[in-house]
Amino acid sequence: MTDLTTGLWGLLFQGVWVTVQLTVLGAALGAFVAFVVGVARTNRLWIVRFLSGLYMEIFRGTSALVLMFWVFFVLPVAFGWQLVPMWAAVLSLGLTYGAYGSEIVRGALASVPPAQREAGIALNLTPWQRLRKIVLPQAWPGMIPPANNLLIELLKGTALVSVLGVGDIAFGASLVRNALGDSAPVYTIILVMYFVIAFVLTRGMRALERQAKANLGQAPERSGLFGKGRRSATSAAASIGGK
């Protein structure tokens, strides 16, 4: 560890910045794709359901790494335009993780009781208003924990981009390893770096979940390391009256 010069640390921290960018941009595109595809899969028109299902199957069933190669190496040949590696990576990650995420969105939408939709019909809301004002806000808290898993998967998935020569953490680490001729210190360092980023993301998602549940008038459950959520009245009552 003491052999790491400031310059080598700099490489790693540049890598952290690139990984964070990839994660944030990939998640933004992925979330957009997940919502569009997930909602489309509940559409009443079969063709919309079919096409969105097809998208989900194709992008879930292909590898993000191969897709990345495809976007970077095949697209220029086929269509004559070349994406910079960073954007090829974001596109591949966003489209792939969006396909996974669409299943989270679809499942959460399906978990909202049909009676809520019926109440919306009884108030003569349009299908779009029912989705936006009733179903999505109620489905949202249930999407957050699985979306958190997916977000961390995405964070770790960004390491794939080093094969395109994008200077993320993993890429920086391989340069540092070559400079030092020693693997142990640098891989231990980046292990911690990934963990810290993942931990920060998880804390953020927990805050989001607390907020979302409070909007439904629910107290969040206490869980996880350093969780600040209070135990809800119902679970407290259950633990007293239960057993």
Binding site: Q116, N124, T126, Q129, L216
Partner: protein
């Protein structure tokens, strides 16, 4: 108000005089092989309060759900205020109605559900103002003003900043009644609105409904097992069995001297 089935009975369908607000014409509804409504014809005149009684599975709730367009009839037509609810006329032919037509006719109908179905993602006040603002295009201030009046009517002005989950069942149902009234419906459908409530909360909800029945000219269709309430508010009672109206008439007559054996059996079981 009158009822008629494929089997003729004493209540012949009156000539169309334009006063009926709701008209079921030969409506059949099946769920799989189960015929829930069998060639049903009946009318409800504007301003009347009609109670549907009968054993469970006799099709009472299905009538309300058909009127609210939560389910579609397999055969027959339903008219509300002279317009087809589930169909529209195109080139002289009746075709299944599009979303826009349905919404236009449906705006005169409101419904209160057995399980309240308040929106948990909105506080009490917004549960009531949401549809007036976004469906009727009412200004936010006006909608809130009116919501406060309605909350006063149901006795819950002090609860408007709470989440539905913080209210008792009875309070939630009173909010649901206010929410339905906020849309100024001509017809209010009440689907077993006290069945999910603890016994001590039933009276409060029924008092609110009695108040509405006696002070407004809203037409009410009510499915209930509260026979005392039915007797209080109803102009007419329809007795259903196996998807048909087997007997109908004023509540005094149905409850005191029913003609049909089936009605007698049912009433002795529930009273």
């Amino acid at each position: 108000m009158s009822a008629e089935n494929t089997t003729p009975n004493d209540h012949a369908n009156p000539a169309v005089d334009g006063s009926e607000l709701i008209r079921f014409d030969k409506v059949t509804k099946r769920f799989g092989d189960n015929v829930v409504l069998d060639n049903l014809c009946f009318d409800v005149a504007s301003g009347k309060h009609v109670t549907l009684i009968g054993p469970s599975g006799s099709g009472k709730t299905t009538i309300l759900r058909l009127l609210m367009t939560l389910v579609k009839p397999d055969e027959g037509t339903i008219k509300v205020a002279g317009d087809y609810l589930t169909h529209e006329e195109k080139g002289g032919r009746l075709v299944p109605a599009g979303e826009r037509h349905v919404r236009e006719v449906r705006k005169s109908i409101g419904m209160v559900f057995q399980q309240f179905n308040l929106f948990p993602n909105m506080k009490v006040l917004r549960n009531i103002t949401e549809a007036p603002v976004h469906v009727l295009g009412m200004g936010k201030d006006e909608a809130e003003e009116r919501a406060r009046e309605l909350l006063e009517l149901v006795g819950l002005t002090d609860q408007m900043d709470k989440h539905p989950s913080q209210l008792s069942g009875g309070q939630q149902q009173r909010v649901a009644i206010a929410r339905a009234l906020a849309m100024r419906p001509q017809v209010l459908l009440l689907d077993e609105v006290t069945s999910a409530l603890d016994p001590e909360l039933v009276a409060g909800v029924l008092d609110v409904l009695r108040d509405i029945a006696h002070t407004t000219d809203i037409t009410m269709l009510c499915v209930t097992h509260e026979m005392g309430f039915a007797r209080d508010i109803s102009d007419d009672v329809l007795m259903f069995d196996e998807g048909r109206v087997i007997e109908s008439g004023a509540p005094e007559k149905i409850f005191s001297e029913p003609e049909h054996d089936r009605t007698r059996e049912f009433l002795s079981a529930v009273l």
